[in-house]
Amino acid sequence: MSAVTPARADAPGAARTRALRPRSAAGALVLLGVVMAVALVAAVAIGAAGLPLREVVAALAGAGDDTTRAIVRDLRLPRALLAAMTGGALALAGAVFQALLRNPLAEPYVLGVSGGAAVGAVAAIVLGIAALSPWVVPVAALAGALAAIAIVFRIAAAAGRMLDTRVLLLAGVIVGAFFNAVILLLLTFAEAESFRSAVFWMMGSLSGASWSTAALLAVYLLPAGVLLLGLARPLNLLAVGEETALHLGVRVERVKLVAYFVASLLVAASVAACGVIGFIGLIIPHALRLAWGSDHRFLLPASLLAGAAFLLVADTAARTLAAPAELPVGVITALIGVPVFVLLLARRRV
């Protein structure tokens, strides 16, 4: 377990962190960047319409017939970008939550963000207001996610010291359980049609991708990503222990507040854009730690790249495996992610 949890001073993981030479970390980042770029190209090149590569390239350059141009530039490209950003955002948030909560099971949805978003979205669908505009569900999901964040932090604050890790985790779990009950209650009264829509939403899908959703997520991701990547060093120290970090000059409370808040907002935005997509935020950071160690100066950008590549591949599979029908991408992320992770775990030599 020790190599899975972020490095401790006395654990073998720490030795490996020290052994992680900048050059190998940089090499790994370059490798992940290349993989991400290849996945991005593949996501644009491959699709249910089965366009020849030549036509895809022509369409990107602005040539070719209207339909092909529309498919490549208005459907595939924004969807690929949204997939890359969502995957990156979830993996980055997962790595941050794992460091903050010092818990290997932490993931982006651990503080109830997904539950709150789902209550918002499902309520909008079941109450019938979702049919009014395509923006109702994302807005309701975002509102639900923000409400969940507010409730969880309020509970944690009420229980004593602000941002106590254990209290936060507990608050996240109980608020998540409560939201779950609300969702089930809403679904009990749902008509068959809205029931179906709600379940599809909860499985997560990128089929709603457009230039406007991609742009909206980019607006969140750019500042949030920069802020979180900038917290790599304090997160390294926090992962060792809050006391230690405090002694080493980290303004613990402020770092935690910023990191929790920014990561939660990022997750809320991604859930609003494409529903709840599981496993990426849990597995990607762990897989990277297993492969290259747990220095957050490496882990955070690597999570961003690897998460992006992973969701691009998963969504390309979701779009094409059962074409012309689409599979829920959350199913694919779990189906690919879990075996790969088990393989990594089995190969681990400590």
Partner: protein, 301 residues
Amino acid sequence: MAATVAAACGGDRLSERAATPAAITVTDDVGREVRLAAPAARVVSLLPAATDAILALDAADRLVARTDYDTHPALAPLPSVGGGLTPSIEWLAALQPDLVISWRDAQSRTLVQRLDELGIPVYAANPESVADAERLIRQVGRMLGLDARADTLVAAFRAVLEGVRRRLDAADADTRSVLYLISVDPPRAAGPGTFVDELITAAGGRNVFDDARALWPEVSLEEVVRRQPDVVVLGVAGADARTLARFETAPGWREVRAVREGRIVAVDTDLFNRPGPGLASAVVQLAAILHPDLFSPEPTP
């Protein structure tokens, strides 16, 4: 038919259509205006009820795709989009349809918006009642430029209903109470406001759950036993003799007199569960089930 489809391919393109003024404008079930420059010639229908309407309008050659639920032999050569609930938008766009008929729900709402942005007209429908079914037939007829045929179809449907009603009135037939199930486990029945509820009334019956609060309420077995319907109708896909036999031994269900005495039937869901032109045959079949002495039973296909 392949030749007709190929001939239709040469027609309009996305950009041309945007420029030409709309010749046909209809309002769909979410209140959007659907504008077509010309009668739709390349249609994708994700709604089996709408597909049935197009078949009944004798316009199968306008369809360029089908769903897995559209099993009519005339549609067999067409590519299937699958279940029709989560279609690939780019696959639909590649077919270059000039009309897509889609569901109205939230999931489909994004589909409608994406296709809208691509300049492909989408009609979102959500037929729940017999009036909705008639409206769907008329609207589809208008979009295909087959208004007169659609009017004839609706008139014929009303004539069938009228014929059944007159025969019931003439014989002063008793009203039979009916439990119509669309799912067995958990039991889910047709509620008030649904086309099935209207179907039951038209066929000389009364829906035992006409007081339910939902359109398709989940009902408790206890309540079914208490209400003792005269007839149980299974509108459940894939229900057969074995399903019926299981009812007779199932705890709870065997307390229902209709089940014990064999007044439980499975009906063709392609006909009964689609608020489209098939409802005419469905009414006649249901009338024969409820009043076998008045109506000669038609064999289910």
